[in-house]
Symmetry: C2
Subunit: 261 residues, 2 copies
């Protein structure tokens, strides 16, 4: 299986230009699963709920249409973040899309910082969806810091965690080596680059998108401040064997009767 | 508060010599909490249950007596690993001891490799015990790879995780930066050094004992192949505030209704 990511440089509020940039970056690339950053079509740093609402879309809006085109071009599935409008509510969401349409939507359950002012916390269960023979679980950015997110997706059978991100803190990439090792899953963290200075806030996005393997090894690491595309070949089925050695299986050895939640 | 560790080089089966080594290493050291390695008095690589039984002790045996002396000398509490005998059953345990006696015993709930052949999996709940104003949670070595262990101890209110270890894999120290960050707790990983070649197995213990802070920063890191003692000053109360910024509290932001166990 070929899995990859695009590390892009979204311009705030300019969907057309953000779609074009991605179109150029993926020209000629083929893969089974590609991940794009969180909120890749709108940019990140909203300054009011009204502004977020203006840029938000229903799940079958222009971003979904664009991702269907992308899926066709790469001949695979694509996961990307978007500002979702559902009735009067907004969510920081990601969708999994193939050429024929949207397969699944995930709404970020752990909101970061001022996202709480415009988005509702996700209200849908964490899910694993199979496509092209890969069992895919979606999470978004800050979800990484809660070990329960990837644990849940892994217990549900994920082979690969698709992880759109807009990272500003320096911890996630290292942590993903632990997350993948403890769950024996693959992960694709697609981050963005660039600076957004809006209102009182300034966000410098830190690049270094990363594909991490089931033993915590790093299969791809993007530069810190350049756009980048990478594709790696993995055997997704390796994630279905949780044995570390002949005595230890990381899932069978769990002792939930002693765990507090 | 002063917290520290001893990274020792146990000789298999020779308790007297192992006690002496520790006695020398701590001479003149004072601290509130000190952690010693897993199975520091017996060594690690048993080749049969009978052999483990010969070296195992009830919780008030010679290792407990030795640790009471140590507690008196350092003027603080001490946590160390021991092979525990309880009726006909053996456990890979750790005890928390002060001058007056044993405060608490923890039995490793996730056994590694052939430990499963001689030890029973721990049958006691994970607990946090307060002593000298520090709320301490114990876990042993391989427990680290299960995020639920430190999560549970942290949710129970631990300020410091006392983590006796006999590490042979290269992953734990890096992972502890993520574990401490995700839970905003301190941890003391006391590892051992040396090679044990017994039966068909050979274990090279990898040193690098580590004290990790609530933001994942490393406050102390021991050498790979020398005995070592270190003490650092921390403010344990910092672990009681789980806020990352004005919008995010790592415990209040959890969404257990979406987590699978």
């Amino acid at each position: 299986m070929k899995i990859g990511y695009v590390q892009s440089h979204p311009i705030f509020g300019d969907k057309e230009s953000n779609f074009k940039e991605i179109g150029k970056l993926i020209a000629g690339k083929k893969m089974d699963l590609m991940v794009l950053p969180e909120l890749f079509s709108t940019g990140y740093a909203f300054i009011s709920k009204e502004e977020a609402e203006t840029l938000a879309e229903e799940k079958n809006g222009p971003t979904a249409e664009f991702l269907q085109e992308v899926a066709k071009k790469i001949n695979g599935m694509v996961v990307g973040g978007f500002a979702e409008k559902s009735g009067s509510k907004l969510y920081n969401s990601a969708m999994m899309v193939k050429e024929e349409g949207v397969l699944s939507v995930y709404r970020k359950i752990h909101l970061y910082y001022k996202e709480k002012l415009w988005f509702q916390p996700g209200n849908l269960p964490l899910r694993v969806v199979e496509g092209n023979g890969i069992k895919i679980g979606m999470m978004i950015c800050f979800d990484w810091i809660f070990p329960e997110t990837m644990r849940t997706l892994s217990l549900l059978g994920a082979d690969v965690i698709a992880h759109p991100a807009n990272l500003v803190l320096p911890y996630c990439q290292k942590a993903m080596t632990t997350r993948c090792l403890e769950n024996r899953v693959h992960a694709i963290t697609a981050n963005r680059i660039g600076l957004e200075k809006r209102g009182d806030d300034q966000f410098l996005f830190t690049g270094k998108s990363q594909i991490t393997s089931i033993d915590g090894s790093i299969l791809s690491s993007a530069p810190e401040n350049e756009v980048h595309v990478d594709i790696v070949e993995i055997n997704v089925k390796k994630a279905r064997n949780k044995k570390l050695n002949e005595f230890n299986d990381l899932f069978k050895d769990r002792r939930p009767e002693f765990y507090k939640f």
